[in-house]
Amino acid sequence: MAALMAGFGLYTHAIVRRIPASLAKEALRTSEAEVDVDKARGEHDAYVEVLRTRLGLDVVDLPADESFPDCVFVEDAAVVCGDTALITRPGAESRRGETEAMKRALKALNLNVVEMTDENATLDGGDVLFTGREFFVGLSSRTNQRGAEILADAFKDYAVSTVPVLASLHLKSFCSMGGPGLIVIGSSEPAQKALKIMQQMSDHCYDKLTVPDDFAANCIYMNLPDKGHVLLHCTAEQYPESFKVFEKLKDYTLIPVSNMEKVKVDGALTCCSILINKKGSI
C-alpha cells in the first residue's frame, strides 16, 4: 500500500536553496521589475522558517551559487515522487548547472535518482503538477514533449498527460494542488482552459478552487501527521481577493507566506522548495 498514492501531501523533508546576489540583475524574468535582493532573502528566510519550524520538516538548505542566479527555484531542477527523483534538464540553458547540487542532495537522501540525459529533452519542475493520482506536464517554453516522455518513463505507475501552456512561464504559474483531488486554479482564460484540458484528460474527478489571481493559485499543500491539512498561500497584502478565497477553506491550517519580491522573477511558492516524503517510502 505504501507505494501508490500513499498519503498525498505527506512530507518529511524539504530541499531549499539560498538566494544568490546575482538574482537581482541576472535572474530570468518575464517582466522588467527590479528585485531587492535583501527583501527577497528576507522573504525566503521566512518561507524556510515556516517549513522548518512551523511544519517541522527536515530542511536541506543548499548554499547559493552566484553563477546560477535562479538557483533558489529548486523546484525546476528535480521532480520527486515517492522515492524516485527525476533530475530535470531545465529549459533555460543558464539553469542547467543547477541540477548538480540538487542531484547530490537527493542522492544523499537515498532517493532513487533518475537523470534526464536526452539532449533533446527539456523539463522544468514548475511544469509538473502531481495530483496524487497522476501527472500533468505543461508543454511550455521550458518543457517539451520529450521531457514529458522521460518523466512518464521515470514514474511508470502514473498517467502522464500533457497540457499546453501558452500564456505563462510554467504550468504551475496558475495552478497547484490545494488538497487531495483539489486543484487551485487561476481565473484567467488560459488557466481555465488548461484546467478544462486537465479535467478532460483525467479519469479522476477533481474539485477546483478558483482564485482571482493566477499567481495566487500557486500554493503549497501538505498533510502532516499532527497538523492535518496545511496550506501555504499568498498574503492578503499581495493578492487580497485571492486571499479571501483561501480564507474560506475549512479545516485547513492556513499559512500566508509573502512572496512579493520573488514573484518579480516569476518565482512562485512551490518554486522554492522540493518536498520529499521519506517515511512512507519502502
Partner: protein, 1018 residues
C-alpha cells in the same frame, strides 16, 4: 448450415466471413436469392435433417466403439448433440441473446407464436428419418473397417446425392479436410474412417496459470461452448470478466466471439486458445469470489511480468511480494538460497537482484497474510496503475503521427509514446464507427462548442480497425451500465455490424454474482505452473471424459445461470432495447443539428429533403435539448412508428428468414434487421457503395445563388440525395435491389456504434415495438396498412420543432406533402412487396412533383455511376462565407488537446456538415418551395476512364416579394483513374461564375468517394 437458415443479409455476411470458402458463400447467396419462401422452408427442413443426421451417427458410433458408455450418458450425449445442432439452427437467436444456452428458457416466456416457430426445429429433428439412414451407412462402415476407403467413398457418393437433394453445402465435407487430418492424431484408425461424419475437434486452451486445458468440441460449436467448458473446468462463476482469445492468421490476438462458430473465427486449423481477462474490473474488491480475484491476479502478474502493464521499480517489488505471500505463504528465513529461487520467478520485464531483494524484504512484512488477502492487496495496488485495464492499439492520428489508442472502462485514451495526449470519456462519445482502416469517433459537443465533431484515426489495416471498434463496443457495453441508469435499461447498443456485445454487463454480472450461493470453491494457488509457463509441453488434461463431464456439468451450471439471469434483464429485452435505443441515439445526434440550425430549418423546412431528415433522423433529442418536443414524442406513437418503418424495410429479410423455416426467435432476429436498416438510413451513403469497388467516383455539387438569396441547405440535402439515388436503384432493377440489400450485410466492413442513448426513450415504447413486430410476423399486410397513417402522423410529429417557430403555414404545406407521401406509399404497397424494402419515406419525393423533382430526375438518370459508387465516402466541404463553419476548428478542439489544427481531409464530415449552415429564417409562402425546380440540363460525358455528369437544377422562390433564383449544379465524375478533385472543383466554380456572372457561388460541396488500396478482410 446456418447459411441456409438466416436471412439474405445473414447469408451474405457469413459468406463474407468465410472468405476461405468463396464457392460456398457464393452458392449460398445464389440460393437464397432463388429461394421462394415455401421452397426455402422445405430446404431448411431437409438441411436440418441432414445436419442432425450428420451429427448423430457420430455420437452413436462413438458410443458403440466405446461400448461401455452407460445408457444415461448416451442419452445425455444425444441430447447434447441435438442441442448443439439446435444452437446452430437458431443462428439468429443466440446472436441476440446474451447466452445461447439460455434460449430455451427464455423462449418459454415468449409469445405463443414464437413458441410455435421455436418448436419447428424440435419436431423436425425428431421426425426426420434421415438420421437412421445415415446411421445404417455408418454401421456398415464400422463392420468392415478394412474397406475403409471404399466405404468412405461410398459415403461420399451418398452424400453427394443428398447434397443435390437438399443442397447441402456444409463446410464440413469440402472444407474441413484439414482439421480432420489434425484431429486424426487423437483418434484411432477406426475413427479416422468416420472422420467425414465426426466433427469433433480438440481445442487447446492455455489457462492463466500457464497450464493447458484440452477438450473436444463439436466442430461447429460456438465460442461460448468452449468458453463455458473452460469456466467449468476452472470452477469459475463470475465468468463475464473473462474471454478466450486466439491468434488469427496474421498472428494477431483476437477475441473469440462467443456467439459465433469457433471455426469461422479462427480460420485455421490451429485450435489453440488462451483464457484471459477480457474486462478488468475497476474495483476488484467488488468481485464476489476469491477464485475470480485469483484468476485476475494471474492475469495481472502476467501483464506486469511481460511489461504490458508498466509499473515502477517499487511497485514491481510490492506486487511481487504479494505474489510470494499468496503463493508461498509467510516468508521462511530458513529457505535455502531464497534469492536464487526468486530469480526463477518472473516478476518484471527487467528483473534484477536488487528487485528480488526488495521483494523478499517486502515479503517479510506480509507475515500472517492469507493468500486471499495477499491477492486482494495485489489487486488494490495493481488497479491504481494508470495502464490497468487499458487495451492499447497502434494507430496514427490524422496527421500520420504514431499514437496509441487505449480502450478502458472509462473511455478511449490517446497516447503518444508514453504520454496521454487526449481522452474521450464514454459519455463524450456519440458514435463509434470504423470503415476500412479508419476508426472514427463522434464527439458530443462541449459546453462551449456548438457542434459535434468527428475524430478519425488510421489503423494499420481493416482488421485492426474492426478489432478496435469491437473492443470499444464491448468495453462501453460492459462498463457503461455502471451509471445511475437502472440496470434494466442498458445503455449499450450496436448498429451496423452484426457484432454486438453479447455477454452480461458489469452491472448485470455483479447482480448475478451477488446471488452466488456456494461455499467458496477450493482451488490451488501455486507458482510452479507459472514458472513453467514459458516452457512448452504444458501438462495436458485428459480430453474426452473430463471434457464431456464438464460439459454436462456445464449444462447444469448454465441452468443455474439462467435462473440467476431472470433477475436481470432478459437478453432479448436488452437487445430490443438497444435496437430501439440505437435509433434514439443516432436520431438524438441529429436532433442536435436540428436545433443548431433551427433558423435554417425554418427557411428550408418545406424542402423535402428536410422533411426526410426530420423523418429519418428525427427526435428524441438528447438531454441538452430536452424540451416539449421530446415530451411530445415520448407520448406520441411517433417513436413506435419510426421503428415500424424500419420493420417494413426489413420485412423482406424477415420473410426470407421465415421462409428458411428455422428462424427460431423471430422477434429478435427481426429487431436486429431493423437496427441494421436503421443504420442504412442514417448512414445515408452506405447502401449502394459496396457493390463495386473498382471506380473512384467523385461528386461535386456547385450551388449558385443570386446575391440576394440565402444560402441553401445544400449540404443538408447532399447526403440525402445520395440516398435517393440508392433508393432509385432498387426501383429500377430487382437485381440492383439484391445488391443493395446484401451490401447492408457487408457492414462487417464498417460499422457504427452509438454509445450514448437518449434517455428520452421510455420503456413503454419498447413493448410497443415488440408488439408491432409480432403483428408483422403474423400479418404483414396489416402492418403495412397501419404504416401509412402512422408515417403521416410521424411526419407531423417531426415537423413540430419547425412549426413551433414558423407557424402553421408551413405545416399545411407539409401536410400536403404528407398526403402525397401517403398516396405514394399506398400506391406502392400494391406493387411487389419487395419494393417496400426500399420504401423509406425519403423516396416519396421522387414520385411527387415537388421541388426535388429535378433532383429525382437526375437520380433516375444517374443510377449507374452511383451503383459503381463506393462505401461511405469521405466528404469534404468547401464553403464560402457566410456558410463556412470550419469543421477544422471544431475538430481540432477535440482531437489531441494540444493540437491546433487537423487536416480536414482526414476527417469524414458526413455527420457534421449539416451543422455548418446558419442563416436567418426566411418567410415561406403557403407553398413553401412550392415552385418546383426546373431541371435545366442533364448531360453525361463519358470518356475512356471518366464519366462526367452535370445536372443543373434551378429553383425560383418568391421570398418577401423578392425573387430568388437558385441554381444548383451537380457534377458527378466517375472513373477508375485518379481525378484531380481540386481541378475539377475549380473548373466547376469557374464555369458557374462564367455562366452566371450576376450570381454568387454560395456553396460548394465536394463529395468524394475513393477506393482505398486496402484489402478487405473479414
Amino acid at each position: 448450415m446456418t447459411t441456409e437458415v438466416g436471412s439474405e443479409t445473414e447469408v451474405k455476411e457469413k459468406a463474407e466471413e468465410s472468405a476461405d470458402q468463396p464457392d460456398q458463400s457464393e452458392k449460398a447467396t445464389e440460393e437464397t436469392q432463388e429461394v421462394a419462401s415455401a421452397e426455402g422452408e422445405e430446404k431448411g427442413k431437409e438441411k436440418e435433417g441432414k445436419g442432425i443426421s450428420k451429427f448423430l451417427p457420430t455420437w452413436l458410433k462413438k458410443q458403440k466403439s466405446l461400448s461401455q458408455t452407460s445408457p444415461t450418458k448416451e442419452a445425455a450425449l444425444k441430447e447434447e448433440a441435438i442441442s448443439v445442432e439446435k444452437q446452430e439452427e437458431e443462428g439468429p437467436a443466440p446472436e441476440v441473446n446474451g447466452l445461447a444456452d439460455e434460449v430455451p428458457e427464455k423462449e418459454a416466456v415468449k409469445s405463443e407464436q414464437l413458441k410455435e416457430k421455436e418448436e419447428k426445429p424440435h419436431s423436425k429433428a425428431s421426425t426426420d428419418t434421415e438420421p437412421a439412414k445415415e446411421e445404417k451407412v455408418d454401421e456398415s462402415v464400422e463392420k468392415s473397417p478394412e474397406e475403409t476407403k471404399e466405404t468412405t467413398e461410398g459415403q461420399g457418393v451418398e452424400e453427394e446425392k443428398k447434397e443435390q437433394e437438399g443442397e447441402v453445402q456444409g463446410e464440413g465435407e469440402g472444407g474441413g479436410g484439414g482439421e480432420e487430418g489434425q484431429t486424426s492424431i487423437f483418434q484411432s484408425p477406426l475413427r479416422l474412417v468416420r472422420k467425414t461424419k465426426m466433427k469433433l475437434v480438440v481445442c487447446h486452451v492455455t489457462l492463466l496459470d500457464g497450464t493447458d486445458f484440452s477438450c473436444e468440441v463439436e466442430k461447429r460449436a460456438k465460442g461460448q461452448f468452449l468458453f463455458f467448458k473452460v469456466c467449468d473446468h476452472l470452477n469459475l462463476l463470475e465468468k463475464d470478466y473473462f474471454g478466450l482469445t486466439y491468434k488469427d492468421n496474421h498472428e494477431q490476438t483476437s477475441c473469440l466471439d462467443p456467439m459465433k462458430e469457433i471455426k469461422r473465427q479462427i480460420r485455421s486449423n490451429n485450435w489453440q486458445f488462451a483464457f484471459n481477462v477480457k474486462f478488468y474490473p475497476p474495483d476488484p474488491s467488488l468481485l464476489s469470489e476469491d477464485i475470480t480475484r485469483y484468476l485476475l491476479c494471474l492475469q495481472l502478474r502476467e501483464d506486469v511480468a511481460s511489461g504490458r502493464l508498466p509499473c515502477s521499480f517499487v511497485t514491481h517489488a510490492l506486487l511481487g511480494s504479494y505474489t510470494l505471500q499468496a503463493e508461498f505463504g509467510d516468508y521462511e528465513p530458513d529457505q535455502p538460497r531464497p534469492v536464487d529461487f526468486m530469480s526463477q520467478l518472473n516478476f518484471a520485464p527487467s528483473q534484477n537482484k536488487e528487485m528480488e531483494e526488495k521483494i523478499l524484504e517486502l515479503h517479510k512484512s506480509h507475515r500472517g497474510m492469507t493468500p486471499a488477502q495477499a491477492d486482494a492487496q495485489f489487486l488494490e495496488n495493481a488497479k491504481k496503475l494508470s495502464m490497468y485495464g487499458v487495451d492499447l492499439h497502434h494507430a496514427k492520428d490524422s496527421e500520420g503521427v504514431d499514437i496509441m489508442l487505449g480502450v478502458c472502462a472509462n473511455g478511449l485514451l490517446v497516447y503518444k509514446d508514453r504520454l496521454r495526449i487526449n481522452r474521450f470519456a464514454w459519455p463524450k462519445i456519440l458514435k463509434i464507427s470504423y470503415k476500412r482502416n479508419n476508426f472514427y469517433i463522434k464527439i458530443r459537443p462541449g459546453e462551449t462548442e456548438q457542434f459535434e465533431s468527428t475524430v478519425g484515426f488510421k489503423l494499420q489495416n481493416h482488421r485492426s480497425a474492426k478489432r478496435l471498434w469491437k473492443v470499444c463496443v464491448e468495453n462501453h457495453s460492459f462498463f457503461r451500465l455502471n451509471t445511475p441508469e437502472p440496470p434494466t435499461k442498458p445503455r449499450f447498443l450496436t448498429l451496423g455490424s452484426k457484432f454486438r456485445y453479447s455477454g452480461r454487463t458489469q452491472a448485470q454480472t455483479r447482480t448475478a454474482s451477488s446471488l452466488i450461493d456456494r461455499p467458496a470453491p477450493r482451488f490451488e494457488r501455486t507458482s510452479s505452473k507459472r514458472i513453467s509457463r514459458s516452457l512448452d509441453g504444458a501438462p495436458m488434461i485428459s480430453i474426452t471424459e473430463a471434457g464431456r463431464d464438464s460439459a454436462e456439468n456445464g449444462r447444469e451450471h448454465r441452468l443455474d445461470d439462467s435462473k440467476v439471469k431472470t433477475v436481470d434483464v432478459s437478453p432479448g429485452d436488452v437487445e430490443d432495447t438497444s435496437a430501439q435505443q440505437s435509433l434514439g441515439a443516432s436520431e438524438a445526434a441529429v436532433a442536435q443539428d436540428h436545433d443548431k440550425t433551427q433558423d435554417e430549418v425554418l427557411k428550408h423546412q418545406a424542402s423535402i429533403s428536410q422533411l426526410k431528415r426530420s423523418f429519418m433522423e428525427a427526435p428524441p433529442p438528447s438531454p441538452p435539448q430536452t424540451n416539449q418536443w421530446e415530451k411530445r414524442l415520448t407520448s406520441s406513437p411517433a417513436t413506435a412508428v419510426r421503428v415500424q418503418q424500419q420493420q417494413v424495410v426489413s420485412e423482406p429479410h424477415a420473410e426470407a428468414a421465415a421462409a428458411a423455416a428455422a428462424a427460431a426467435d423471430f422477434t429478435i432476429s427481426d429487431t436486429k434487421e431493423s437496427a441494421k436498416t436503421a443504420e442504412v438510413e442514417i448512414e445515408e451513403t452506405v447502401v449502394i457503395q459496396e457493390v463495386s469497388k473498382a471506380t473512384k467516383p467523385a461528386l461535386i455539387t456547385v450551388t449558385t445563388d443570386s446575391p440576394a438569396s440565402a444560402p441553401t441547405d445544400q449540404e443538408t440535402r447532399e447526403p440525402e440525395v445520395t440516398v435517393q439515388e440508392e433508393v432509385a436503384v432498387p426501383k429500377d432493377a430487382k437485381a440492383a435491389k439484391q445488391e443493395s440489400v446484401s451490401s447492408e450485410s457487408e457492414s462487417e466492413e464498417e460499422a457504427e456504434y452509438h454509445p450514448n442513448v437518449s434517455v428520452s426513450l421510455s420503456h413503454t415504447q419498447i413493448p410497443e415495438e415488440k408488439e408491432e413486430e409480432d403483428k408483422e410476423n403474423e400479418d404483414e399486410t396489416a402492418e403495412q396498412n397501419m404504416l401509412a397513417p402512422d408515417v403521416s402522423s410521424h411526419q407531423a410529429e417531426t415537423s413540430h420543432p419547425a412549426e413551433d417557430i414558423s407557424g402553421g403555414v408551413v405545416e399545411s404545406q407539409k401536410e400536403d406533402m404528407k398526403k402525397n407521401a401517403e398516396n405514394e406509399k399506398e400506391g406502392r404497397e400494391t406493387e411487389d412487396s419487395t419494393d417496400d424494402l426500399m420504401m423509406t419515406p425519403e423516396e416519396t419525393p421522387n414520385g411527387v412533383a415537388l421541388s426535388e423533382e429535378a433532383v429525382a430526375a437526375h437520380v433516375e438518370e444517374e443510377p449507374e455511376p452511383r451503383i459503381n459508387g463506393e462505401p461511405r465516402p469521405q466528404v469534404i466541404c468547401y464553403s464560402e462565407p457566410p456558410v463556412v463553419k470550419t469543421e477544422m476548428v471544431t475538430i481540432s478542439d477535440t482531437f489531441a488537446a494540444q493540437k491546433t489544427e487537423i487536416a480536414t481531409k482526414e476527417v469524414p464530415i458526413v455527420h457534421t456538415e449539416t451543422k455548418t449552415i446558419t442563416y436567418e429564417a426566411a418567410q415561406l409562402d403557403g407553398t413553401g418551395d412550392g415552385e418546383p425546380g426546373v431541371l435545366m440540363t442533364a448531360q453525361t460525358i463519358t470518356s475512356e476512364s471518366l464519366c462526367t455528369t452535370t445536372t443543373t437544377h434551378i429553383t425560383k422562390t418568391l421570398k418577401g416579394g423578392l425573387s430568388e433564383t437558385r441554381i444548383e449544379k451537380r457534377i458527378v465524375i466517375t472513373g477508375d483513374c485518379d481525378i484531380d478533385h481540386d481541378k475539377a472543383l475549380a473548373q466547376a466554380i469557374k464555369e458557374a461564375k462564367e455562366q452566371h456572372p450576376d450570381m454568387s457561388v454560395t456553396r460548394v460541396v465536394v463529395h468524394k468517394e475513393t477506393e482505398l488500396a486496402e484489402e478487405e478482410e473479414d
